[in-house]
Amino acid sequence: MLCELVAKGQIRRGLFDYIVDCPDMAMKAKPGQFLHVLCGGDTYLRRPISICDVIENRLVRFIFEVRGKGTKELARAKEGDRLDILGPLGNSFDISFSDETGESSSSVPEGDIVLIGGGIGIFPLLYLSKSLPKKPKILLGFRDAESMALVREFSKSCEDVFIASDDGSVGHKGFVTDLLKNSIESGNKIERIYTCGPKPMMKIVAETAVSNGIDCQVSMEERMGCGVGACVTCTCTLKDGSRKRVCKDGPIFNASEVDFDG
């Protein structure tokens, strides 16, 4: 679908903030879903980019980092250009919580909802943070102070924002997963964790969650072809040995079922 790029922002060098006009997608989009974007130039395949936010049932926002050829080309787009995008694709974060009777519903959970994002994995968490039955706490991991993004926005949509950085230039020096462990150790009751970020980070989050009996949803990343579930090139391995399509069966999986080394 051709969607007009109505606002192009740049958060920092190499990090772009795009808003496209496409009511069709905006109306359908759920947190955790992604867009599949044709970048043009010398690239051939589409590039998966998470939906970061949905505005007024009409605009879809996504934020991407320039990594290679495709994102570099995408960064050249100008306001008014029409981008060829498929979406919204994939499943979504499950934002329903079961009440006492055990029935899944949209009841408000008692304990904390914790979001844990690292690097480019923080972007899908914004729309999620706005869609939950109650304000979550968010733990954000960055390389350094320079590479922070969306912190002000998360401060609004979240109850609390905790930050870790690799070099300690902002927040806790160390892994964002340390923050999670601290929180659990200090006795906070966590109802559910949602996480998106580098595989090693998510692996620790998943292990921590599972070993503490906390429900946890992870957003997986994999190289993709079609993005719609047909080519079966984007699989991740589950603990039962089966291989699932990240684009269609995911990108959201239950942390307990993913084999991060598979």
Binding site: Y44, G225, C226, V228, A230, C231, V232, T233, R243
Partner: protein, 303 residues
Amino acid sequence: MADLSVNIAGVEWKNPVTTGSGTFGFGREYAEYFDLSNIGAICLKAISAKPRLGNKSPRIAEVTKGMLNSVGLQNPGAEYFLENELPWLRQFDTKLIANLCGSTIEDYVEVAEILGNKLDMFELNISCPNVKEGGMAFGTDAKMIEEITSKVKAVSKVPLIVKLSPNVTDIAEMAKAAEAGGADAISLINTLLGMKIDINTRRPVLNNNMGGMSGPAVMPVAVRMVYQVRQAVKLPIIGMGGITTGEDAVEFLLAGADAVSVGTAGIVDPYAWIKVRNGINDYLDKNGYESVNDIVGKLEMNN
């Protein structure tokens, strides 16, 4: 509107466009984008007698105007397919082609037997470069092609298409071997074996190291091979490799393909199949042809 119908080994297709096996799943996903009854046939992803896991990810790498894949024939097995996928597929007014895979000749025979006459055609996939056993190993040796073709043909209740690998010295020889083995049609090309290296990690991008190359980049090789096979055998030919537009498809038809298959182009654009079908029709209309059969093999050589 020209007459687009073609007859492939006795099976009537309403138009000459099918899907590249492995690029279209079992059809469910693209059914959300268009009515599957709009294409002549659906060639389904490879099916083996037993379920297969396929290879580890990454299974895909982008290359210049194309891609490499190393899916490795992941599929839920023939019985699961018959129970859970086929009934749904039968709602569409189109022909269904099962792409048969296996590690041994017995595997191929077994899957053909399980599927019986429940599909309209079989396509023998002896050209997959992404599996250690079977696959391309069968498809690059003329004697093996003849043997496996005749054994599968012996149990096939529906016309048997043999799909050739382009990773050979003499494609015509392979086509003749398939013909000798009793093939009812030939399809080509499967993917060209390639490798893409990530110079930062100094490792191949694909977890399986090498993979099959497809997409526009391979088209000139595919057109050449279709032409060579057209000169070598009398069987109907389904041509493929990089087809993205109606014009591309017309090149294959002129070179001698009776039908065409679109794979990778659809991975990029879910409407590619429909666009190719419409594009063929436009070419026929514009040039005053009444039927697609009027251009099949109508290439004139320069000398």
